[in-house]
């Protein structure tokens, strides 16, 4: 399987690998995929007082494209509001990394991981949802 240079770069030098404390109120955690399918992504966002994502971390079990997709989105979500982060589309990820058709599911998974992390954060802050909207 031939990988694009960008996939190889992210795979060899993954950005923002690691974990935040799941219990931290400022952290949203998204875990998507299944080991049986060959990929599991864990994406975590840390949301600042201004409602913007100030930091992100990931851990991924999966092929090089899955690792690259999740590494890339940790860069992309930083500085974005939750609303903006959820507008990131898998097609943008696939295009940026020049993913071949058999690897499109990796970009879909990365998009789902962002949505899951945002949903987890929002769930923790159900009562302060209005504050989030004001910023967006």
């Amino acid at each position: 399987m031939a990988y694009s240079d960008k996939v190889i770069d992210h795979y060899e030098n993954p950005r923002n690998v690691g974990s935040f404390d799941k219990a931290d109120d400022a952290v949203g955690t998204g875990m998507v995929g299944a080991p049986a399918c060959g990929d599991v992504m864990k994406l975590q966002i840390k949301v600042g007082a201004d409602g913007r994502i100030e930091d992100a971390r990931f851990k991924t079990y999966g092929c090089g494209s899955a690792i690259a997709s999740s590494s890339l989105v940790t860069e992309w979500v930083k500085g974005k509001t939750l609303e903006q982060a959820t507008t990131i589309k898998n097609t943008q990820i696939a295009q940026e990394l020049s993913l071949p058709p058999v690897k499109i599911h990796c970009s879909i998974l990365a998009e789902d991981a962002i949505k899951a992390a945002v949903a987890d954060y929002r769930k923790k802050h159900e009562f302060s949802e209005s504050k989030d909207k004001k910023v967006a």
Binding site: V32, G33, A36, C63, I108, L109
Partner: protein, 402 residues
């Protein structure tokens, strides 16, 4: 040391320079058609073909008249299975094989099912071995053919084909053995081994690709129906102009294999065991397939919590395979490891190391170091490893499958 390190000898072997040297004159100088009876070019080619036939026959202690040249193992398996099934179909329509055979056997059996044959695909035990008792229980009065491989291509386990041969002979059932991974690596003696049809190929024993042989027993005589028709070459078993240079290469490869097998296997076993010892230090690494009933050339290991394709990518300085070469383009986990009852995760994270004639100690030490570092790196990236370390039983987790 040249990179990448080649550890995929079960996929194919390089042509031994001694073999290549023997082949070249038969391309340029002695280019005759072995079927040309009217001039010296033909006689020379025929002489070379028959000398090679003698070497290949000697490798398995057969009579040269029992060797039929084929284009390779896939054709050999097709000719044996379809040929025997079609010849003996009036006696019965039942065939027995097992689930970890090579696709050349499995797909041929599927094709026969479409033509009215019934096929039993035996399960293997968790060590990858076929149970002779289960095979015995699967035999029916209308069973005409049993096809069981000698050595599994992915996990290297040696099937109890000698016992199966005895069983089939006693019942008067034709026994075919795909010995592609055993040829040149294990001692095969058809005077003792009660096999009726046996497939071997040159490119797994330092010969060229594109040439194989099917052993067809003469005493007691085994009949098969030809699958390729034409000029009646190979006593009608397989028509087509003989590829003299390929055959010469196969002959020389077989001769060298017979002469060097014992010392070579000893050396390769020591290297494989060194690799095994080196990898044993890694947590959550599992050897796939029985370790004792295994050729010395093979080590197949699953690294839990690491995904196979990313591991292959991480070890790009190693030429190894994940599953078999024929299926590694697909995203499915290895059907062989699944047949052993391995979980999808473990099946996904397997690496097959296969060693051979040109493997060195330096290469093995390089491999051990690289695998250790890369597995650690990928585990640092793996959410599954993190969960495992937190004491979470992954089988109890509800995954959002996609």
């Amino acid at each position: 040391m040249r990179l990448p390190v080649y550890l995929d000898y079960s996929a194919t072997t390089p042509v031994d320079p001694r073999v290549a040297g023997k082949m070249i004159p038969y391309l340029t100088e002695f280019f005759g058609n072995a079927a040309s009876r009217s001039h010296a070019f033909g006689w020379k080619a025929e002489e070379a073909v028959e000398e090679a036939r003698g070497h290949v026959a000697a490798l398995i202690n057969a009579d040269p008249k029992e060797i039929v040249w084929t284009s390779g193992a896939t054709e050999g398996n097709n000719l044996a299975i379809k040929g025997a099934a079609n010849f003996y179909k009036t006696k019965g329509k039942h065939i027995i094989t097992q689930k970890t055979e090579h696709k050349a056997v499995l797909d041929t059996c599927r094709e026969l099912e479409r033509h009215g044959f019934e096929v039993t695909y035996l399960e293997v035990d968790s060590n990858g071995l076929v149970s002779v008792e289960k095979l015995k229980a699967a035999l029916r009065p209308d069973t005409i053919l049993v096809s069981i491989m000698m050595v599994n291509n992915e996990i290297g386990v040696i099937q109890p084909v000698w016992e199966i041969g005895e069983l089939c002979r006693a019942k008067g059932i034709i026994f075919h053995c795909d010995a592609v991974q055993g040829g040149g690596r294990l001692e095969i003696d058809v005077q003792k081994f009660k096999v009726d049809l046996l497939t071997i190929t040159a490119h797994k024993m330092y010969g060229p690709k594109g040439i194989g042989a099917l052993y067809v027993r003469r005493k007691p005589r085994v009949r098969i129906e030809a699958q390729i028709h034409g000029g009646g070459h190979e006593r009608g078993f397989r028509s087509g102009t003989l590829a003299t240079h390929q055959i010469v290469g196969f002959g020389e490869a077989a001769r060298l294999a017979k002469a060097e097998m014992a010392s070579e296997n000893e050396r390769i076993r020591a290297l494989r065991d060194r690799l095994y010892k080196g990898i044993q230090g890694i947590e959550e690494a599992y050897v796939n397939g029985d370790f004792k009933q295994r050729i010395p050339h093979n080590l197949n290991v699953s690294f839990n919590f690491v995904e196979g394709e990313s591991l292959i990518m991480a070890v790009k300085d190693l030429a190894v395979s994940s599953g078999s070469a024929c299926t590694s383009a697909s995203l499915e986990p290895s059907y062989v490891l699944r047949a052993l009852g391995r979980s999808d995760e473990l099946a996904h994270s397997s690496i097959r190391f296969t060693l051979g004639r040109f493997t060195t100690e330096e290469e093995i030490d390089f491999t051990i170091d690289l695998i250790k570092r890369k597995v650690e790196k990928l585990r640092d990236l793996s959410p599954l490893w993190e969960m495992h370390k937190e004491g979470i039983d992954l089988s109890t987790v509800q995954w959002a499958a996609h």
